[in-house]
Structure formats: structure tokens, C-alpha cells
Symmetry: C5
Subunit: 314 residues, 5 copies
């Protein structure tokens, strides 16, 4: 196992990678990087709550009935010291005025539901850059599904949205989830080469921040596998793979954060956080694990995660 | 059976949920909530007459020949003290000047006919936000069909229309009817999880007012069923289900109203109204039951419904 | 057989139904209703010449070679005292300046040809509202095909065109022809319920004037059939059916005119005109029967038709 | 065989048919009709060079290697006294400045290649009206394929382009080639009824000048055949058919020109030119026969053709 | 084997071929033709790095880990004296400010990935002309896939982009790769007629610079083969074929450059460069061969190539 020393990056250094972006974008990136408990550390923990749209309200909120209320998530993000809160239009509209300025907001511009099964999902654009501006957001979010047959429409939609967002000084956050017919097995969607390819595509599409799942040690593409072996790229530990993910995403010149893998219990989640930290990752975006438990437990759970990123917890 | 106490909500409280919407939207919401017999109670009864387009004139109006005349419906909505009258372009154009200002109008922007059978319906956009403004409407209506294979096009069309409507101070009313191939049986379309998921999607899409069918106790999705059971969510009575619907729609922070279920006679309808009232629902949208009977009977029928909502009838 | 008294309507009364339309639209409606021999009677006879596009020049004009010349039709409409002349872009462009102001013009904005057979026809938009304005037209025409699988695209195209036309003060004339896979037999396309449903849809789409075929006594939809029977709606004579058509089209608040049915000889056509008159219809749009005969015979034929509408011929 | 006297038309008479078009269009029509050796005769010979795109450079230019050079065609059109030179964007861009003003230019706005076989061809729009204006063209060209399943998209594209072209004073030239599944045999594409229907459609779409193939005596549609027979329309000689083509194209009120049929040698081509002249046609558009031979032979070939049109050659 | 004397072209001569383009385009062409080691020779060597998007980061960069860093490629292009550096949005955004002005930049506007196999590829437009302007680029790049079933959409997309680019003074570089169902075998994609047809199409679409693969002696289309034979066009040596490619691309009036064929080792690459030089080609675009080796070797490799073009190496 490779020994990995996590980089410590200052906000100034990170902003320097975005040299050439307009001052509006830099200002909103600065807000994200300096807000909340991890402000100034170069790490981010973002609370995303789009599960009501993606999986329905019952699956999402029945475990913690307070979470049906859109104000709950604003409060959770604020109290726990998250770097930002990301959600679709409805949830942000229902609280953006009430909590104006208290936490950076990211408007998810496309969403997908599961009322019709489909092997090649395509989200719908459910809000606009203009909506993000009127709601006081620091950025917008968009999900691409690399691997789907119609991904080109998603890339074109994102390209157009991202251009408008940047012109208006908004940060562009891209969720990259590989899906579709060529991903024969579920494990292909988190294969190391697939996840890093997806992150690279998002970066090439002009994303400022990229969100992908944690990669497994599985490799989907035979030629990529040969490359990993021939060039002795370490991929055995999760920290190794996070390190490779960061490298694949412009050698660290773009912020890439992770959502959880197949974690079963809190300790597994915390171990993943440690691997992200040790592999030089930039942080986490944690939804269901955060809000599908009572308020106090949520705060404690997020406190531990931020502690690990801070280094106050080993 | 859970004992349910219906909330009494003031107009001020309801408007507070829409904090952040522009004064134009708040003004038109205020007009809706203060008009007619239920004005100020926080309840709504809306008359919708889009059946001529949706099912043809013969099925819709033969039972009450006066109803072929578009002026009839304006008069019915005004005389009965409805909160608003909703119809497609033609019907509103044929009377908006004659009855200008006498009842809040909602222009239905998309419509669907049944001259060609299709498992996954898609309405056509048959009028514009600009039409609604020139006709003096307080809002626009749009129907989504969650569950259909092409729902994303509907969501995107609605997103674009809703943004324009809000910019122009109009209230956005979304009809949510689950349809499509995954709804194997007709009963799936009114399953509790399906109806509440549809209402949640409409709310996330930025609807101010959501209209869905009354949910049955049937649950379509196995994982949602597990959640209802595991978390002891009461769903046995219609009032329970209305209560869960309100919760699913941003925990009551968005107005959700209902159309009738499979009511056979007036008493069944009235019982449904009582369940909506007792479950904390916001009111009804009642078309065919209202106008497919003679004028006097229509007035009496609507009088009873409003009486139940008011509490003057038990 | 019901005894039917044809209404006599003044121009003022008709314009009152369009209350709320802008003065530009009212002005052009007035021009249509006051032009030609039937001017002021509340009846219209319109000459449409789109057959060259729809069926090819040979089928359309070989019977009367003068009719290949676009000027011929302008002259025919003017000499015979028609209320208006309707044609596609090319035919109007070829004479609009030469006959400027002498007859109200309606520019047909979509057209369809028969060089490729298709069960669900869709016309192409071959001209614009701007074209109609520069050619001095009083209105535009558009054909919808209710019953086709893709009718929603037609409805959306019409909605957009109609909005622009109205903003510019043009009258919107909609041709409604049911077609498509669900019309199993040719006779379904002229079934009473189908024709009246089509006319109702056109009216809901905001048409000022609606043109449909004369309905037969056949009924396509079982539930509509039940309604006709249960509510004792007379449909046996053609005049009955015209009367029901007028009722279905906003109870007479929208102008609905007819093209011929399967007339074999002139007397049959004249009988149809009498039925339209007696049933309270608004007039006719007569193409092939008008121009596929020599000039003098055409004038005589149209003279008789207008005489019937006027009442000078029984 | 009918004896045919070719009309002699002046430029003034031709322009009178376009009465109502704006002065910009009339000016560019005038330029076309007065340029080159046939200037003022009412006849046109146009050099089109789009074969490089349509069939590839090898098939098009190997026979005369000088023809790979875009300047060659400008020189050929100028030297031979052609009325105009028509080509796609690239070929015009490569010489429009060098030969500015020396020959009227027509920019072909859509093109098609044969690197993928397809029964229902659709060209791609490869340049814009704005391109035509910046290159100093007198008009634009567009090819429609009547008979193809998706022809409506072509008609709509043309309608939109033609409107823009006319607003900017450009002449609209439409190529009409019947194709597609209903043209069962190759000979159907040049059937008399098909060619004249295609020309009529182009005229109805607002074309100023129409280009079709020379029609054969074959008739594709049974009903049209009956009409030819019943009404004794002469179609036996090529001159008869050209005469009928002119009649089908607004009875001569629109300029219709021809490309060659299945000519085998120069004498056959010249006989076709005589038939066009004697049938009252307006001229030719001759590509491959013009430039797929050495410079001197090309000039001689075109000299003969123009002589026939002029009448200096019998 | 034909003896070929490579042309020596000056920048002035090349610019003269683009006579009629606006001064903005001429200025940027001048910058490209005068930059780097080959500046002023009329030859170009361009570094393209779009492989991360096209094939994934692992296949592209594992062989030379420094190449994950977007700054690496800017430095390589600058140090080696390349004429320009071409890449997708993300890679250019990550360095355009840091290396502003040091090397001409070409923004690749469409890209394609291989996470879903498809016989008829279509790239996605992932950036805009406006992006190219804000990043200080001299031009934009776009890939067409002649031979694919949907190529017309690509041609239309390119036409629209190219028009906007030219209006803004940007050079238009078109990559032409034949693909699709009619290319039965892989070798068809580099057949001489296919490559030259693709280059001709790109030129007709208005490209200023065209990039295609080196053509083989295989001929795909039987009629083109007959033409090569009948007209004794030499195609045996690579220099012959480069010469024919230049001729097919407007007889040398458009810059056409090549990427490598199936070269196995550096000497084979150098031999190809010699053939391009001797056949009168305009230069090379060399990606993987350039950066998939250590820094020093890359510089040496590119030094040799430029030496061959310069003539300092035989």
C-alpha cells in the first residue's frame, strides 16, 4: 500500500487554478471555500437534498419525518457548518428568502425521477441560471450520465448552461454518474477507469467542481487495465484511487469531491472520508446519510466527518 | 384510525410560505385566496372546464346542454362563489372581456385530446403566458404526466413556462397525473406513493399550487411500501392519506388540492370533501360533477361542498 | 325531423362574440363579414385554392385549363362576390399586388402534398404571419389533423402562429380534418362526434373561424353515441347535424363553416347549402366545385349558392 | 404533334409577374435577366457546380483536372456568357472577391453527399442568407426532395430561408427533385406528373425561379393519367411536356428552367435545348456537361446552347 | 513513382487564397502561419490534445504522467515551437490565462467519448464561439463524420458555428473523419476517395483549414476507382496521394493538414512527414505521438518533424 500524504491547500492556491475565470466566478468560489467549519482548509462538505425528486418523498424522508420540511435542510446545513446546500428549484424557493445569506446555495438545474424505468436515464432541466441568480445562489449543479446513448444531448445542454452560468459569475458543479447499456453490470458504474473518465469529461466540459462516486478497484475497459498495469499505477487502496481520481481531473487543478460508495455503517463512511483525505481529495457531498436520521445524530455524524477532514479526528 | 384536526390557516400564513416570490405572484395568490365564498379561509374550490378538449364536447356537455356555451361556466363560477375558474384558451377568450374581473381566471396552457389512443400521453401547449396576461388571468395551469416515458419533455416545458409566468407575476398551478407504461394497472395511477411522488415533483418544479387525484391506500413501489410500514405512517383512512399528501408536498408549505376519486354519488363526493378538510387539505377542483347537472343543482352541489369546507356543514 | 329556423345574425352580434380581441382582429373580421354579395348577412362563402399543392396541378386544374393561372382565382373570387379568397403563399404572391384590396385574402400557412402516402399526415408550414401582413391579408389559415399520432406538434405550431397572428390583428381560420390510425374507416373521418370534436378543439385553440367537413350521422365513439341517444339529441338530418356542430363550437359563439361532403352533382351541393342554412351554419368554403368548370358555369354555380344563403333561392 | 411557337418575353414582362416583390428582389431578378449573352432575351443559362459536394471531387473533376480549382468555374461562367454561376459556400468563398461583380452568383444553401446511401435524401443547410449577402450574391438556391418521407422539414426550412432571402432582396431559386420510397422506379422521378407537381410545389413555396429535370412521357399517378387523357393534354413530344411544365408552374408566371435528362451525346443535349425553346421554357442549368471537358470545348458547347436559345442556331 | 517537387509558399500567397474573408480572419490566419519554428514557411505543425475526452485519461496520459496536467501541453507546444495548440474547453480554460499570448490556441468545439459504442458517432458541442473569444483563441475546431447516417446534423451545426466564428474573425479548422455504416471495413475510412471527398466537403462547408488522415491507396467507390484509372491519376506513393488530396481540396487553395496513419515507429512517422512535404501538403497535427513520451523525447521528436518540413533534415 502506498503511503499518501494529503496536500494542504490554501484558498489562494485553489483560486489560482481558476485563473482566467471572471471575478464573479472567483468570488463565488471564494465564498464556497471560506464558508462553514471547513472554510479555508481547501476541503468541502456539501449537503445535497434532491432525493425527494430522484427517489420520491417516501423513500427519502419517511425515516426522519422532519425532513419533509424544506426548511429543515437549510437549518441542517447551517447548523452543521456545511460548505453549501444543494437542491432542486422547489426546495430552494421554499427557503431561500428565509435563510438568505446564511449558507451558500447551489441550484440543481436538472433532475430525474424513477416513475418510469429506463436503462439510459436523462434528467430534465427543471430550473434556469436566472432562477439561480434570483435565489441568491453561488452556483448551479447539473448531472451528466456518461455511458448513456444520448449523453451528447446532456453535454450540449450542460455546455450551454455552463456558459450562461459563468457569464453571470456562478460556480458550475457537475455530477457525473456513468450509466447506460455499456455498463453491463452495476459494478461497472463505479469502475476506476469509468469514474475517472467521467470526472475528466466533466472537467473538459468546463466544470469548476466535479462530483463523482468513490471508485472501486474494478476496471471496465481492457485497454485502460493494461495501462494501469504497464505503468504501475497503484489502485489497490481507496486512497490510491482517490489520488488517481484527482490526477485524472487535471492533475488536481479542478476540485473533485465524492459521494459515498456502498458504505454499510457510519464507521465505513468515516473510513471513506479518511481515504478521501489521505488520497488528496477535496471533500464530500453527503445526502441521505446526513438527513435520514434524527437532528442530533445528523449533527454528530457531520461533526465527525468534518473533524476527519480538519485533522482533529484521525 | 387517526384523529385528525384540520388546520386553520390564514391568508397571511399561507403567503409567508411563498416568501421570496415577487410581489406580482403574491398579489395574485392573495386574490385567489381571498375571492369567493371560501375567501380568507385558506381553502379553495376551483371550477375547471377543460373536458371539451380532453374528452370532446358530446361526452362533456350533452348532459347539460347549456354547458356548451362558454359563458355558462363563467356564470357558474361567479354565482357559486368559486375561488377561480380554469379553462383552455378558447373558453377563456370567449368570455374574459364579458366577465372581466368578476372571478380569478387560470389559463390552462396545455391540453390533450382522446382522438388517438396513447399509453404515454403528452399534452400540447395550446396557449402562452402572454395569452394569460392579455386575458387578465391570475395564473396559468399546466399538466404533467409523471410515469410517462417522455415526462422529461413535459418537465422542461413546464420549467420554462413557470419561469416566464413567475417573472410576470402569475401563479403557477400544476396538474399531476401519473400515467404511462410502468403504471401497469389503472389503480397504480392513484396509488398513495405515486400520487404523493407526483405532487412532490410538481412542488420541486416550482408549482405554487398542485392538483392531484385523491390517493388510494394502494402502494405501487415495494420500497415505499416498506417505508410506510417500518415507520408506522397511517394510511388507512382517506383523511390519513390527505394528511400524508400534504406532508409530502413540502410538509404543507405548498397548496395542494384534489380532484375527485371514483365517487359514485353526491354523498360520496361530500365524504371525500370531509376527508380533505379533516386531513388538512387545501380544497378541491371539481369539474364534471359541477356542471354536468342543471344550473340549480350545480349551485346546490357546490354550496354543500363549500359548506363542508367552511365548517357550516359537518 | 326537427324543424329548424335559421338564425339571422348581424355583423354587430357576431363581433360581440369576439369581445376582448384587439381592434385589429375585429377590423379584419368586419372586413370579412361585410365583403361581397353576402356582406352583412352573417354568412360567408370563401373560395379556397390550395388543391395544386394538396393534389398536384394536373388533378386540380386539367378540367379547366384557365385555372392554372393564379390570377384566374383572384378574378373568380372577385366577380362571384365571395367573402374571401384563401390560398398558399405562391398563389397569393402571384396576384396580391395586382388585385390589392379587391377581395379579402387568407394566407394558408401550412400545406400538405400527396407524393408520399402517410396514414398520419402533417402539413408543412410554408409561409409566415409576416408574409400575410406584407401581402395585405385579413387572416391566416392553418390545418390541424385531429386523430393523428403527432397532432400535438400541429396544435403547438398553430398555438404559436395564432398568437402572433392575433397580436398583428389577423383573423385565425383553422381547417380541422380528422385523420390517422384511430380513424379505421374513411367514414370515421366525417363521423358526427369526430367532426364536432375537431371543431371544438379548433375553437379551444383560439380559432376565430373554423372550417370542417359536413358531418354524417355515423358516430365513432361508443360513449358519445350513448350520449346522443340518452339525451335525445337529433342527428338524423343534415340540418340537425349542422345545428349540433354549431352548438359544439361554443354554442354558436364561433363562426364555423363547411366544405362539401360526398356531393355527386350540383343539386346535392345545393341541398347541402340549404341544410347549412337551415341548421344555422355560417356558410361554406368551396374549392374544386367552384373552379373545376368553365368561368361562366362557376359564376352561375356560386350565384345559386349565395342565393340560397341569402334566401332569394329557397 | 402540336406545333409550338416559342414565346418572346421581355424583361419587363417577366418582372411584371413578380409585381409585389420588393425592389431588392426585382433588382436582382433584373440583374439575372440582363446579364451575359442571353441578357434581355428572357432566357437563362446558369452554370451550377455543386457536384464536388454531391458526388465527390473525383467523379466530378477527374475528367478535366483544371476543374478542381474553384476559380476555373468563375472564369467559365464569365467567358461563356452564362446568366449566373451557382455553387455551395466553399466554392463561392474561394473566388467571390477575386471575380466580384463579373457574374451574378447564386449561393446553394443546402447540399447532400453520397457517402451514406439513403432512399429519402435530406440535404444539410451548409450556408446562410447572410453568407449570400456578404458574398455579393443575387440569390440563393435550395433543393427540395418532394416524395421523401420527411419533405415537410425541407419545406419548412425553405419557407424560413426564402422569407429571410426575400426580405433582403435576394432571388430564391428552388431545385425540385422527386425522390423517396413512393418513387418505386427511377423513371418515376422524371414522370411528367411528378416533375410538374414538384415544380408547382416549389412555386407555391414562393420560389422566384424553379429548376427541375426534363419530364418524360411517363405518368406516375393513375388519376393524373386519367386527366391527361380525358382533357386531351398533349404530352408526346418533349416540347409538349416543357409547355405543360410551364403551364403547371403558374401558367408561365414563374421562371422554370431545366437540367438535362438522360442525354448521351451533345446532339441529344442540343435537341433538348431546342425542345425547351420550342415548348416555351425559360432556359437551362447545365453543370457536368459544361465543365467535364476541356476549356475550349466547354466554351463551344455553351456557345451552341446559347445560340439555340437566341435563335441564331436552329 | 512520380517525382514530386514540394511547393514553397509564402504567407502572402496563402492569405491571397482567403481573399474576401474579413480582416479578423486574415489576422488570425497570419498569426497561425507566422508563429513557431515553421512560421513563414507555409507549413504548420499543430499540437492537439483532445484524447482525454475522446479515449479517457488513462489511455491517453498513463504513458507520461506529467501529461495529466493541462499546463504540460501548453508548455510542450510553446517549447517545441508548434504553430498552435488545440484542445477542448476544460484544458484551454485551465491554462489560457497563464500562457496568454504565448501560442495560438484553437478551441475544439465538439467532442466525443467512447463510453458507449456507436457505429455512427456524433460529437457533442461542448463549447461556443464566445468561449473561444474570451479565451483569446485564434480559431475554433469542429469534427465532422462524413459517412454517418446523421451527418447532416453535423454539417448544419458546423455551418452555423462557422458563420459565427468568421463574423468574429476566428479561423475555422475542420477535422474530417469518415465513419458509419457504409464504411464496411476499417480500411474504407482511410480510402483515398473517401479521405479526399471528406476534405472536399469540409472545404465546401467553408473551412479555412482542413485536417484529415493520410489516405491509403485503397479506393472505396467503384466509380471513383474508374476515374482514377481512366484519367491516369497517380496514387501509388503516399506523396502522390497527398498531392491528390491537396488538389481535391480546391486545387491547393485551402490549407489541408494530416494526422498520422498506422505508423509503427518514429522512422515511419518521419517518412510520412517526408511524403506530406514532397506531395505538397501543408503540415501535420500530431497528438499522441507527441505527448505520450517523456518531455525531452517529445521535444526531439517534434524537432525532427519540423526539420523535415523546413528542409534542414532530408
Amino acid at each position: 500500500m502506498a503511503t499518501i500524504t494529503a496536500p494542504t491547500r490554501t484558498v489562494d492556491e485553489i483560486l489560482s487554478w481558476y485563473n482566467g475565470q471572471n471575478p464573479g466566478v472567483l468570488t463565488n468560489l471564494y465564498r464556497l471555500l471560506t464558508h462553514g467549519r471547513l472554510g479555508g482548509t481547501g476541503r468541502l462538505v456539501i449537503l445535497p437534498v434532491d432525493q425527494g425528486f430522484e427517489h420520491g418523498p417516501t423513500r427519502s424522508f419517511a425515516a426522519n419525518p422532519q425532513a419533509y420540511d424544506p426548511h429543515y435542510h437549510f437549518r441542517l446545513a447551517i447548523e452543521s457548518g456545511c460548505s453549501a446546500y444543494a437542491a432542486p428549484l422547489g426546495f430552494l424557493e421554499a427557503g431561500a428568502a428565509d435563510f438568505a445569506g446564511q449558507v451558500p446555495l447551489i441550484l440543481k438545474l436538472n433532475s430525474h425521477d424513477i416513475l418510469h424505468e429506463e436503462p439510459d436515464p436523462m434528467g430534465a432541466v427543471t430550473a434556469s441560471v436566472q432562477d439561480a441568480l434570483r435565489l441568491g445562489c453561488v452556483g448551479i449543479g447539473y448531472t451528466i450520465y456518461p455511458g448513456t446513448v444520448d449523453r451528447r444531448f446532456l453535454y450540449e445542454q450542460l455546455a450551454s448552461i455552463a456558459e450562461e452560468a459563468k457569464e453571470n459569475g456562478l460556480v458550475v458543479v457537475v455530477w457525473g454518474y456513468a450509466r447506460g447499456g455499456e455498463m453491463k453490470e452495476s459494478k461497472d458504474e463505479t469502475a476506476l477507469d469509468v469514474v475517472t473518465y467521467s470526472a475528466h469529461i466533466a472537467a473538459q466540459l468546463g466544470a469548476h467542481i466535479i462530483k463523482v462516486k468513490l471508485p472501486s478497484a474494478h476496471v471496465w475497459d481492457a485497454k485502460s487495465k493494461q495501462n494501469f498495469e504497464k505503468h504501475n499505477i497503484p489502485i489497490d487502496t481507496l486512497a490510491d484511487r482517490v489520488s488517481y481520481l484527482v490526477r485524472s481531473t487535471f492533475d488536481g487543478r479542478r476540485i473533485v469531491i465524492n459521494s459515498g460508495g456502498a458504505a454499510k455503517d457510519d464507521e465505513s463512511v468515516f473510513d471513506e472520508i479518511r481515504a478521501i483525505r489521505d488520497g488528496g481529495g477535496f471533500g464530500s457531498i453527503i445526502g441521505r446519510n446526513s438527513f435520514q436520521r434524527p437532528w442530533d445524530e445528523s449533527l454528530k455524524f457531520l461533526d465527525t466527518i468534518m473533524g476527519i477532514y480538519e485533522g482533529s479526528i484521525a
